[in-house]
Amino acid sequence: MSARDEGTRTAGAEAVPVLSAEGLTVRFGERTALTDVSIEIPRGYTVSIIGPAGSGKTTLLRSFNRMNEVIPGSSQAGTIRFAGRNLHSAAMDPAEVRRRIGMVFEDAALFPGSVFDNLAFGLRARGEEGDLHGIAEAALQAAGLWSEGAEILETRAGDLSAEERRRMCIARTLALKPDVLLVDEPTSTLDPAAASRVESLIHALRDDYTIVFATCDHTQAGRLSDLTAYLDSGRLLEYGPTQTLFTNPRNPRTEFYLTGRLQ
């Protein structure tokens, strides 16, 4: 039974959300990237973040796994909770946070070496001493990169196609078995055929993970997500079930954006 069935949906809404932000404001030096954003991500749901370029989509994703604080000059106010616990409390180890809330960047840098080296990096960082090959195989299978068998492990990452690279970066994150998957622009820089195949992969992962993704392509948000958040100039203007937001937006700016009339 899928987590998105009607029955569990109501139950999920009562339970503690897996991620929540309350009054989140993020600044980079003088520039304010997010202003007073409050949002809840229920467990098992797929949430899309849409909005014009520069509206703070990536910043919101990055604040969910404490990746903004590695940018010099950034500062943050507000509270983010992960399964009810303050993400920034002293007991939270940022490295552990990032293992449990995995993120695939739009600019997904390949690590030097083979595909296996790429997958093993995160596992070794965690101190994993078990069957690295087994874990890597499972992750590559989940990401749809195992069709040609084990030889993919020894392939140099730099020799992969754009689509395979994207899949490998997803596999790199999946290997750590995160609770939440953050994906920034899952299909940017891919040609249409590859984009639709990667989209199917995200669709397949919906059953196993809570997913939050940011996209410039709102039709993609419509195809993939249960809930959609509309960000505009760093403010969360609207958040709700994707169906409702697309067919009956409450905020006129949301409607302007969706219909391509935003000034």
């Binding site: 590695v70 940018i71 010099p72 943050q76 507000g78 509270t79 920034h88 490295a95």
Partner: protein, 309 residues
């Protein structure tokens, strides 16, 4: 509402290894800073002692620098004048060749020519100064004597030529970096709009890179100011100031090299004088290097946008 400061992502709490490495690296930095402080402190201390004996007014206003003479002169100006002559002279010699070479290598030279010239420039930049000094004294000066029979054995022109040769790689390499930072897409765009390649290079790339080029010249001049061996060997050690390039020149650096060859008794006035000259040299080169670096990085920040392919 809580505010979080940005951190570098180091988590000293979590892992003893993490803590150890962070500590080790911080220790290296502390050592580097401590050695820098020791250098500046040592120079500063002796310089302060020197100025207790010699008033600053004499240092700035005396017209001769003869600290060990019977009636000593303590004016820094003659040394500064000599240093300026060598630095300007060398830059004037090197700049035209270096700049043309940088433009040529960046935009015109074929692959083979470029790799030969890169190797030649790298070779020039790794020749030790003392070897250049030998070359100036035993080859350039005799050769110039054929042109100007009145040339003295120790003269400024030979030193300028060879210091110019020594700083040439600095200008070529850094100017090429500045020219290379102008996005190729911008130049292609210009050519696509009907400009000739020459127009794109001369009217677009050069103006866009000029701050970086200027920075490379300042950095090269900094090296010329600090150059010791060539000047000591080829330009002699005259006490007077002459603006004739056929005569000898004494610079801040060559005074230091010459003075240290005698026996410097600590506490003597000559010993203090060396530290005062070294402190002036430190301030001068530190400032020039800072200016050069600022120009280079401003040049990069101001470069026109575009894809850097």
């Amino acid at each position: 509402m809580t505010a979080f400061r940005s951190s570098t992502g180091a988590h000293p709490r979590s892992d003893p290894r993490e803590r150890l490495m962070g500590g080790l690296l911080l220790g290296c930095t502390a050592l580097a800073v401590a050695s820098a402080a020791a250098v500046i402190g040592a120079l500063g201390l002796e310089t302060v002692r020197f100025f207790a004996d010699v008033p600053l007014s004499r240092f700035l206003a005396d017209l001769a620098w003869t600290p060990s003479a019977e009636e000593p002169g303590f004016g820094i100006l003659p040394l500064l004048a000599g240093t300026a002559q060598i630095a300007w002279g060398a830059t004037v010699m090197a700049l035209p060749v270096a700049l043309v070479l940088a433009v040529f290598l960046e935009f015109y030279a074929g692959k083979r020519t470029a790799s030969v010239m890169n190797a030649a420039v790298a070779a020039l930049s790794s020749v030790p100064a003392v070897v250049y000094g030998y070359f100036a004294l035993n080859f350039v000066t005799p050769a110039l004597k054929g042109v100007w029979p009145g040339l003295e054995a120790f003269n400024g022109i030979s030193a300028c030529l060879v210091v110019g040769l020594m700083i040439l790689p600095t200008i070529v390499v850094l100017s090429r970096e500045a020219l290379g930072a102008v996005p190729r897409s911008v130049l292609r765009q210009a050519v696509a709009l009907g400009a000739t390649r020459e127009r794109a290079v001369l009217r677009l790339a050069l103006p866009a890179a000029w701050l970086g080029v200027l920075g490379s010249v300042v950095l090269a001049m900094t090296r010329a100011v600090g150059e010791t061996m060539i000047v000591t060997l080829a330009a002699g050690n005259p006490t007077g100031v002459s603006w004739n390039p056929l005569e000898g020149v004494r610079t801040l650096t060559s005074f230091l090299a010459q003075a240290s060859m005698g026996d410097l008794a600590p506490g003597s006035i000559e010993y203090g004088a060396c530290f005062a000259v070294a402190a002036v040299l430190l301030l001068l080169t530190f400032g020039m290097h800072a200016l050069g670096r600022a120009l280079v990085s401003r040049g990069q920040a101001d470069a026109p946008g575009g894809s850097r392919s």
